[in-house]
Symmetry: D3
Subunit: 119 residues, 6 copies
C-alpha cells in the first residue's frame, strides 16, 4: 500500500507533470508536506480534476500568485482544459478581482506554450 | 433585441435567483454596471454556468468576501452544484489560501439552507 | 509649540471629527502612535485633505476594511466630498478591485447619514 | 502509537484549549484535515509554541482574519504570551500591514477576557 | 455616434497614452471588455480625471500591482499630477497599507522618467 | 540626546544591517518616516528583536512581499534566527496563508547566503 507521500507524488505527477516535481525538489520538509497534502486533497472524490483546476486557476489569478499560476496552467492543460477555456476563466475573474490580476494572468497564459502546442 | 441591462438581469435571475436581484436593487448606478457586466461575462460561451460558479465560490472563499459567497452558494445550488460538491470545493481552497478562509467558508455553508433542502 | 501628539490630535479632529477621537481612545500606545503618524502625514503639504480622503476611501474600499471606511466616509464629508462624489469613487474602484468590495462599500455608504443630512 | 488525528487533537487542545475543539467540531472532513495538519506542523521541532503563536497572531492580524485571531489570542495566552506582549505584537504589525488591521486586532484583544483574568 | 469600444479607446488614449494601448493589444476579448468598461467608468462625471488617478495610484500601490501602477503613474502625469504629488500620495498610503507596498511604489516611481522629464 | 531619526537609523543598522540603509537611501521623505517609525516601534520593550523578526518574516511571507522578506531574512539572521528556524517559520505559515506564499518564501530563503555562511 502506498503511503501518503508516494500517493501524493503520483497525483502531483498526474496533475502537474514534471513542473510539479520541479517545484517540490528544492523545498525540503515543506516539499514533503506539500506532496502529502496535495495528494490528500486532489485524491478526494467529489470534484473532477478538471473542476479542481478551474477553481485553482481562478484563485491563483485573483491572488496574483504568478509562479504557481504558471504551474497550474500546465496542470489545467494536462487535465483537459483548453487554452480557450483558460482564457475564458481568466476573463471570468474580472468580476470578482478586477482587471489588474486578470491582465497579469492573461499575459502569463499568452506567454506560455502549452503541452501539445507548436511554438 | 434585449439591451445589455435586460440580458444581464435575465442572466442574474437565472444564476443568483432572487438573491441577485436583492443585491442589485439598492446599488444605483453601481447596480446597473454590475448587471450589465455580469451579463456580458456570464453570458459568454466557453465555460458552463456550473464551472463558472466553481471558480466564483473558490475565489470568494480565499478572498474572504462572505456576503458575496453567501449569494454564490445559492447560485451554485441553482446551477447544479450539490452541498457535498461545495464542501469539497471549500476543502480544495485550503491548499492555496490556508485554513482560516476555508473554515469561514465552511461555517457559512453549514449555516445555510439551500434551495430544495428542508430546514 | 505643539508636540507631535497635540498636532496629530488637532488634525485628526479636523479630518475625522468625533469619530476619530472615538477610534483612538481605547487603543493605548497604538492610539498614540496612530495620532502622531496621522498628524505627520495628513499635515504634510502637496495634496489637499479632499485629495487625501479620495485616496483613503478608495484604498479602504478595495481592502475591505469597513470599520475604517465608515470613519473615512464621515471624514470625506468633513473635507468637502459629497455623497455623490463618494458613490462615484466607489464605482471607480470596480476596475481595480472588482465588484464584491465595491458592493460592500456602497452598501455601507447607503446605510450612513452624513453630517448635515436629514435622516 | 497515536495516529495523525489523535496527535493533532492533543496538540490542538494543548495550544488552543476548548476554543480549538469548538472550531473543529462542525467542520466535517475539513476539521479532520485541519486537526491532522495542525498536529503535523505545531508538533515539529525548531520553534517553541510561544514563537509559533507570535507568528500566528501577527499573520492573522495583518490578514484581517478576526474569527481565527480570537482563537489564537487565547492560544497565545495558553502558551505564555501576556496581554502586554500581544498588545506589543499588534503594534509591531503597523509597520507591515498599516493601521486598519492593527486597530481591528487591538480592539478585538481589548474586548476579550484572557484565561486567568478577572472580568 | 461612437460605440462603447470606440469611446473607451479614446478615453484610454487620453488617460494612459500609448501605454494603455500597449496593455490592451495582446489581451483579446479581455482587452475589449477592459476598454469598454474603462470608458464606461472614466467617462462618468462626478470626479475629475486627476481625482480618478489619485484614487487609482493609491489603490494599485497598496494592492502591490506594480505592472498596472507603472501605467497609471504615466496616466497620473498625463492628467496633471506632478512627480511630487505622486510621491506624496505614495507616502499617504503608509497609514493604510504599511511600509512594504509604499516602498515598492516609491522605488517604481523613482525608476521612471515621466512625460516631459529629461532623463 | 538622539532625535527620532538618529535613534531609528541606529536601530535599523542593528537589525537590518547595510541592507536596511540601502532600502532607505533612495526613498526621500518616505525613507525618513520609515526610519523614524521603525525606531519608534523596534525600540519599544515587550518583545525581543528575535521575536519581532519572527513576526515580521511570517507576515511578509503570507503577504507575498518578497523584496522586504529578503531584507528581513538577513535581519532575522542578524538577531539570532538560524536558517533552520526560518525554514521552520515559513513551513508554519502554510496553515494560515496556504502553499503558494510559503513556497515563494522558501525558494527565496534557499537562494540567499546568510551572514556567516560560506557560498
Amino acid at each position: 500500500m502506498k503511503n501518503r507521500y508516494e500517493f501524493g507524488m503520483e497525483m502531483l505527477k498526474k496533475v502537474d507533470g514534471h513542473a510539479g516535481e520541479a517545484v517540490v525538489a528544492p523545498l525540503g520538509d515543506l516539499g514533503k508536506i506539500l506532496v502529502e497534502t496535495f495528494g490528500d486533497i486532489y485524491g478526494r472524490e467529489g470534484l473532477s480534476l478538471r473542476e479542481r483546476e478551474i477553481a485553482t486557476i481562478a484563485m491563483l489569478t485573483v491572488m496574483g500568485r504568478e509562479t504557481q499560476l504558471k504551474v497550474h496552467i500546465v496542470a489545467g492543460s494536462n487535465v483537459g482544459l483548453t487554452r480557450q477555456e483558460m482564457e475564458e476563466l481568466i476573463i471570468h475573474t474580472v468580476l470578482y478581482g478586477g482587471f489588474p490580476t486578470a491582465i497579469n494572468g492573461m499575459n502569463l497564459l499568452n506567454s506560455m506554450t502549452l503541452p501539445g502546442e507548436v511554438k
